[in-house]
């Protein structure tokens, strides 16, 4: 019996060891980043990871002397609008593919699926010409309009809508609900979790856009954070490490907070929607 206990203890110890090693691998970049954001750049440049002067000075510098807050604000606007638009348009498209009967429905669905195979990165040249012609360059709209809908989001919500029991539609029909009513009274609340998942997904992908805003925005008034950081790196002397790390921290904190609160929905939603 004690033999058995001893073995279990060793196993448990090994397990914690594994967990801690993995944690270190994941966390070191974070810790190092946050830590150095508190150190004076002069000390960091000497290769020191300790300083007698630990302060939030870098944050003050970043906020007062760079447009980092403006970048954050821009990204927030762009990401929120994109997210809302995708929730609406993806859910309406998914609704059509699940609950409407019309000629060519399956063909259209394959067309949607096919767009998932076409990388946006391979289409930037004509898209650039298009937004230039539409006069959208260097404006919020240029980062929102092309992403108002998403084939992936439609696909994910379709999978989720397919799980709604057909009887609910029949119950709605008996009461004479129109498609529009069934959509917002039943389908949307029923698929709440998938909707949250899509919300988180579309918010994050918009937030993480890099190439497209880099090509289409030229002023700090509209530039989102990702490209803002790039701008800071090229403008400031690349070696102002403390300030750069502080900017990175400012940017990452909102997403980390959002992530930890949304984690539960993300987990269940992704597994339900995407894989089945």
């Amino acid at each position: 019996m004690t033999q058995y206990n001893k073995k279990a203890k060793i196993q448990q110890f090994m397990h914690y060891l594994l967990l801690i090693i993995l944690t270190l691998f994941i966390l070191i970049p974070f810790i190092l980043g946050f830590w150095t954001s508190l150190l004076p750049t002069a000390d960091i440049s000497k290769g020191a990871l300790w300083s007698s002067h630990i302060s939030l000075d870098n944050y003050v510098t970043a906020v007062t002397q760079t447009p980092i807050i403006r970048y954050l604000f821009n990204s927030l606007i762009i990401s929120i609008i994109t997210m809302l638009a995708q929730i609406i348009f993806c859910s309406l498209s998914a609704y059509s593919f699940v609950f409407l009967k019309f000629k060519g429905r399956d063909l259209l669905f394959y067309v949607f699926l096919a767009t998932m195979m076409l990388p946006f990165e391979a289409e930037v040249i004509p898209n650039f010409t298009t937004v230039r012609t539409l006069g959208l360059l260097n404006h919020y709209a240029v980062m929102i309009v092309p992403f108002l809908t998403s084939a992936f989001g439609t696909f994910m919500l379709r999978q989720s809508f397919l799980q709604i029991p057909g009887e609910l539609k029949e119950a709605g029909d008996i009461e004479g609900l129109s498609h529009w009513q069934y959509y917002y009274k039943v389908v949307m609340p029923y698929s709440k979790i998938s909707i949250y998942t899509l919300a988180a997904y579309s918010f994050l992908s918009s937030w993480n856009q890099y190439l497209w805003p880099m090509l289409t925005t030229f002023s700090d008034n509209f530039r989102p954070v990702q490209d803002g950081l790039r701008q800071l790196q090229s403008q400031e002397s690349f070696n102002n490490w403390g300030m750069i790390q502080a900017s990175a921290a400012i940017i990452i904190i909102p997403t980390l907070i959002a992530l930890f609160f949304g984690q539960h929905y993300f987990k269940s939603g992704l597994n339900e929607g995407a894989i089945k």
Partner: protein, 373 residues
């Protein structure tokens, strides 16, 4: 409210009929069951009555008004579904109120109807709960309450009890029946369970392979099944069906079937199917001439089911009050002591029944259906 179906058919491709030529008039306040095996079209028929699926041809009248082309909400009916169709994100109360709100009814009216309906199904104290927090039986009651609250006088039910365990099912059966009578509902009840249909319904429509097989009361269906399908579908265990070939007119059934029949019919020569329910057979273990061998005995408490292989190697089931004196591998004699049925060779029509138990040589009941001759 009465419901009249005239020559209703359904096909999706124009040639294969899911339902073919269904006609029946269901009276106001009638409990009408539609029963049949899975895939017989019973759910489709119910959905056509509801207006969820378009009718290919034929006419549907509710209270003598043609509703064939009306959408569901204009047919003044309500429906209870197999999986209850409750909205998981709404409370019990809001589920019951769902249809009323959709119809833009006044709030005070909605409230009073919801309270009343929940009281009728004994769920008043659960009204704030979500369906996920209820047991299967309680969810079923919420679905019933929703139907009650709608105040429609026609209620369609699609296998509403099939997801409940046996005990609860028995309880709900009588509850539904009581509610139906209390509220004077015209109720169409779809089920694959013959017991449910027989115990609840005033009349039963038996559907198989897209066609009506028989429409009758439970006792008439049991006593006078119009074909072998109906005969086999009702009654547990199933009716024994024995193929016989008579080589001459008025030949005895005994030799051909391997059973002992009490009397002879004037059957013309040809092929027939003879149906005998297990409870219309009896076992004699003291006869000198035996006609079968016991293979299995199922003890069921009040009675036993004995599996017998007849000398002509057909298996028949016999229901007997006591099987204490019987053992497997015992040679015995099986006698026909109750009602039996003579069907045409293809099983499609009932030609003759002998009526009840015949000892004195005279038939107790005239066959309902016309015999061939």
């Amino acid at each position: 409210m009465s419901i009249e179906l005239s020559n209703i058919s359904k096909t999706y491709n124009g040639s294969d009929f899911v339902l073919s030529d269904i006609s029946v008039k269901i009276e106001t306040g009638e409990f009408f069951a539609i029963v049949g095996p899975s895939g017989c079209g019973k759910s489709t028929l119910l959905r056509m009555i509801a207006g969820l699926i378009p009718i290919t041809s034929g006419e549907l009248k509710i209270n003598d008004k043609d509703v064939t082309n009306l959408p569901p909400q204009e047919r003044s009916l309500t429906m209870v579904f197999q999986n209850y169709a409750l909205f998981p994100f709404l409370s019990v109360k809001d589920n019951v109120a769902f249809g009323l709100k959709a119809r833009k009814m006044e709030k005070s009216e909605i409230d009073s109807r919801v309270i009343n309906a929940l009281e009728l199904v004994n769920l008043s104290e659960y009204k704030e709960r979500k369906p996920g927090e209820l047991s299967g039986g309680q969810r079923q009651r919420v679905a019933l309450a929703r139907a009650i609250a709608s105040d429609a006088k026609i209620c369609l039910m699609d296998e509403p009890l099939s997801n409940l365990d046996a005990q609860l099912r028995n309880k709900m059966r009588s509850e539904i029946r009581e509610l139906q009578q209390k509220l004077g509902l015209t109720l169409i009840y779809v089920t694959h369970d013959q017991v449910e249909a027989m115990t609840m319904a005033d009349r039963i429509m038996v559907l198989n392979e897209a066609k009506t097989q028989q429409i009758d009361s439970a006792s008439d269906i049991y006593d006078t099944p119009s074909n072998t399908f109906v005969a086999g579908f009702f009654g547990t265990p199933q009716m024994n069906l024995i193929p016989v070939t008579l080589h001459a007119n008025s030949q005895s059934l005994n030799n051909e079937s391997g059973l002992n029949f009490p009397n002879n019919h004037q059957l013309s020569k040809g092929k027939y199917l003879v149906g005998v329910r297990p409870n219309a057979l009896s076992i004699d273990d003291s006869a000198t001439v035996n006609n079968g061998l016991i293979t299995t005995i199922e003890y069921l408490g009040t009675h036993s089911i004995v599996h017998v292989i007849l000398d002509n190697s057909l298996e028949v089931l016999v229901e007997t009050k006591s099987a204490e004196h019987l053992t497997t591998n015992q040679q015995i004699t099986v006698n026909v002591t109750g009602k039996y049925y003579i069907f045409s060779e293809d099983g499609q029509s009932l030609l003759l029944t002998n009526g009840g138990y015949i000892n004195d040589g005279k038939s107790s009941k005239e066959p309902k259906l016309q015999a061939l001759f």
